[in-house]
C-alpha cells in the first residue's frame, strides 16, 4: 500500500492504544479523541477511494472478514441448517436452510468459509464439491414448494478442483444449480460477500437481483488463475486483477450487478456489525420490491435479466 496507508495504519494503532487506556482506566476520552477519530476516518476514505483492484481482492480475503454465518448470526432468526444432497454427502462449503431475514421467511444458500484453521480445512476454504450444488438444488425445490424467497450469500474462490469432485460431476452439478435457479418461481436476491470465483459462484448467483459488497470481487477466473495462464506466473495476479475488472465498481459499470452494498471504511472486517446492517437493509429492500411480482413474472424477469448480458456488435 501507499504511504498514506502506512500513516493510517499507525494512527489506527495509536487510536486503539488510547481507547484501551480509556477502557482500562474508566476515563472518558470520547471528547478528547473525537478529532483524532475524524482524521482516521478521513484517511480511510481517502485511501479507500485509491485502492487498487488487487488491494480490493486482498480485502475480500482479509482475515476476520465476516463469513456468511457471521451475517446470519446478526441478521437472521429461526435459521435451521438443512444438510445433505440425499444422494452422496453433505458439503460444509455450501450450506443453507430456511430462516427469517429481518423477520421475513426466506431460504438461505451460502458459500461458507471456515472461521478458524480447523473449520477452514473442513469447509475446503469455501470451495464446494458437487454435493454442495446438489444440496442447493434440493433447497431451491423446497423454496419453490413453500413460496420462500431465496437469498444467497456468495463467498467462494471457486468450485473445488479435485479428483473426486470431477468423478461426481462437478460441472454437471454447477450446471444443474444454475438451471434450477433459472427455474425458480420465487424471488431470488444474491450478494457476493467476499470472493465470487467463477462457475462455483454463479451456481448460486442467478438472482432477480445481484448485489456485491464494496470490497468483494466476482470474476470468470481468479487473478492467480489468470496470471498463471497469461504469464505462467501466479505472482502476476495484481496485473491480472487489473485486467479482469473484477471489483464492485467494475461490476456495476459493466451492468452485471444492481447495487454495491457499502462496507465500513477499511473493509467489513473492521466493523462486522455495520457491514451486516448495510447488507441486511439492502437485501430486505430488494426482497420487498420483488414481493410484488408473481411466480411467472419472477422467472421471466430473472430470465430476461440474464438473457440480456453480454457485449457484442451486430452487423
Amino acid at each position: 500500500m501507499s504511504a498514506p496507508a502506512d500513516t493510517l495504519r499507525e494512527l489506527e494503532a495509536r487510536l486503539r492504544d488510547l481507547e484501551g487506556t480509556a477502557q482500562r482506566t474508566g476515563q472518558n476520552l470520547d471528547a478528547a479523541l473525537a478529532p483524532l477519530r475524524a482524521e482516521v476516518e478521513r484517511l480511510r476514505g481517502e485511501g479507500h477511494a485509491r485502492l487498487t483492484r488487487w488491494e480490493r481482492v486482498a480485502l475480500a480475503r482479509a482475515p476476520g472478514r465476516p463469513t456468511a454465518l457471521d451475517y446470519v448470526e446478526r441478521l437472521c432468526t429461526d435459521f435451521t441448517e438443512l444438510h445433505g444432497d440425499r444422494a452422496y454427502g453433505d458439503d460444509p462449503a455450501l450450506i443453507g436452510g430456511p430462516a427469517r431475514w429481518g423477520g421475513v421467511p426466506v431460504m438461505l444458500l451460502m458459500g461458507q468459509k471456515g472461521r478458524d484453521t480447523k473449520s477452514k480445512i473442513r469447509r475446503r476454504f469455501g470451495m464446494s464439491n458437487p454435493e454442495g450444488y446438489r444440496k442447493a438444488v434440493r433447497l431451491m425445490d423446497l423454496a419453490d414448494r413453500f413460496g420462500l424467497p431465496v437469498v444467497t450469500l456468495i463467498d467462494t474462490p471457486g468450485a473445488y478442483p479435485g479428483i473426486e469432485a470431477e468423478e461426481r460431476g462437478q460441472g454437471w452439478a454447477i450446471a444443474e444449480s444454475i438451471q434450477r435457479m433459472v427455474r425458480l418461481r420465487v424471488p431470488a436476491v444474491c450478494v457476493v460477500i467476499g470472493e465470487g470465483g467463477s462457475g462455483g459462484a454463479l451456481a448460486i448467483g442467478v438472482g432477480n437481483r445481484v448485489l456485491v459488497q464494496e470490497n468483494a470481487w466476482y470474476s470468470v477466473i481468479s487473478p492467480e488463475g489468470a496470471a498463471s495462464i497469461i504469464w505462467k506466473d501466479a505472482a502476476k495476479a495484481p496485473e491480472a486483477a487489473e485486467a479482469l475488472r473484477l471489483t464492485a465498481p467494475d461490476l456495476l459499470e459493466l451492468g452485471l450487478v444492481e447495487e454495491v452494498v457499502p462496507e465500513p471504511l477499511g473493509g467489513a472486517h473492521l466493523d462486522p456489525d455495520a457491514a451486516a446492517a448495510a447488507l441486511g437493509e439492502a437485501v430486505s429492500r430488494h426482497l420487498a420490491q420483488l414481493s410484488a411480482l408473481g411466480p411467472d413474472e419472477l422467472k421471466a424477469e430473472r430470465s430476461a435479466r440474464f438473457r440480456a448480458l453480454g457485449s457484442f456488435r451486430e452487423e
Partner: protein, 287 residues
C-alpha cells in the same frame, strides 16, 4: 446453528395415564439405573449417557406435542388376514397378541395436536406392535393422516419406527409404500410441509417410501436407519460392517438426513423450522 432455540419446554409432560410399575429403568447403553420419573422428564433420553430409549407411539406423542393438545384420528381401521397367512402361528393370533400388548389396532397412532402452539397433524409408528411393521392398516392410517394434513393445511410430522413391510400381508404390504406416497403427494401439491423423524430402528420398506420422501428428514441420535438390515447385508457380502454403519450420524455424513437432533430439542426444532416453512410471523419470544 440454532440461534434462537428459545422454545425449551418449561417442563416435560407426563404421558397421560402412564403407569410406573417399577421405580427405575436400566439404560441399555450405559447400564445406569434411572428413575422412571427422571426418564420421563428427559423425554426418555438417558440423563447420564444421552442414549435415546425406544418409545411407543403414545410416549412419542407425549414427548412431541403440547400437553393435552392431542386429538386421536386413528383407531377405527383394523387389520384382517387377507392371505390366511400361517407360519409358526396364524397371523390373527399374532395380531391379537400385539393388540392386547399395546392397546391399539395396529402399529401406528395418528391425529392432530400442537407443538409450542403450532397446529400439526402427526403420525407415530409403534415399534412395540409387531416391530412397527407396515401392513394395510399402517399404510391406510398414514395415508389418511397425510390427507387430513392436506385438507386442514397443517404441517405433517411423522415419526418412523419400523422393521419394514409386514410379511404376513404379502404384496399388499408392499403396495402400502406406493399408497402412502400417493397420499403424501397432496401435501407437496399444496405446499404444506412434511417432516419425518427417523427413530431407532427405521428399515426396509418404510425407509424406501414415506419416511424418506419428506421435505425435511430428522434423525434421532444413534438410530439404526437403512433399507437392507445389517444381517442381510453381512450375509450377502460376507464382509465386516464398518463401525457406526447405518446409524444416524453416518447418514448425516452421507447426506441422507437434514439433521441429527436430540429428542429433547425436537419441539423447539420443529417449531422453529415449521414456522418459517409455513411463512408464519415469528412467534413472540417466550410464547
Amino acid at each position: 446453528m440454532a440461534l434462537d432455540r428459545f422454545f425449551r419446554r418449561r417442563r416435560p409432560q407426563q404421558q397421560p395415564g402412564a403407569e410406573m410399575p417399577d421405580l427405575w429403568t436400566q439404560c441399555p447403553r450405559c447400564k445406569e439405573g434411572v428413575y422412571n420419573r427422571d426418564l420421563e422428564l428427559s423425554a426418555h433420553v438417558c440423563p447420564r449417557c444421552g442414549h435415546h430409549l425406544r418409545l411407543d407411539a403414545g410416549q412419542r406423542l407425549a414427548v412431541l406435542l403440547d400437553e393435552g393438545s392431542f386429538q386421536r384420528q386413528s383407531g377405527r381401521v383394523w387389520p384382517v388376514d387377507p392371505l390366511a397367512f400361517e407360519d409358526t402361528e396364524p397371523y390373527p393370533a399374532r395380531l391379537a397378541r400385539a393388540q392386547q400388548k399395546t392397546g391399539r389396532p395396529d402399529a401406528v397412532l395418528t391425529g392432530s395436536g400442537t407443538i409450542l402452539g403450532l397446529p400439526v397433524t402427526v403420525a407415530a409408528m409403534d415399534f412395540a406392535f409387531s416391530g412397527g411393521s407396515m401392513g394395510s392398516v399402517v399404510g391406510e392410517e398414514i395415508a389418511r393422516a397425510a390427507e387430513h394434513a392436506a385438507g386442514a393445511g397443517t404441517p405433517f410430522v411423522l415419526v418412523a419406527a419400523s422393521g419394514g413391510a409386514r410379511m404376513q400381508e404379502g404384496a399388499l404390504s408392499l403396495m402400502q409404500m406406493a399408497k402412502t406416497t400417493v397420499a403424501l403427494e397432496g401435501l407437496a401439491e399444496r405446499g404444506i410441509p412434511y417432516v419425518s423423524i427417523l427413530s431407532d430402528p427405521t428399515t426396509g420398506g418404510v425407509t424406501a417410501s414415506f419416511a424418506t420422501v419428506a421435505d425435511v428428514i430428522v434423525a434421532e441420535p444413534g438410530a439404526l436407519i437403512g433399507f437392507a438390515g445389517p444381517r442381510v447385508i453381512q450375509q450377502t457380502i460376507r464382509q465386516h460392517l464398518p463401525e457406526g454403519f447405518q446409524r444416524s450420524e453416518f447418514l448425516l455424513e452421507h447426506g441422507m438426513v437434514d439433521a441429527v437432533v436430540d429428542r429433547r430439542e425436537h419441539r423447539a426444532y420443529l417449531r422453529s423450522l415449521l414456522g418459517v416453512l409455513t411463512r408464519q410471523p415469528a412467534p413472540e419470544v417466550g410464547a
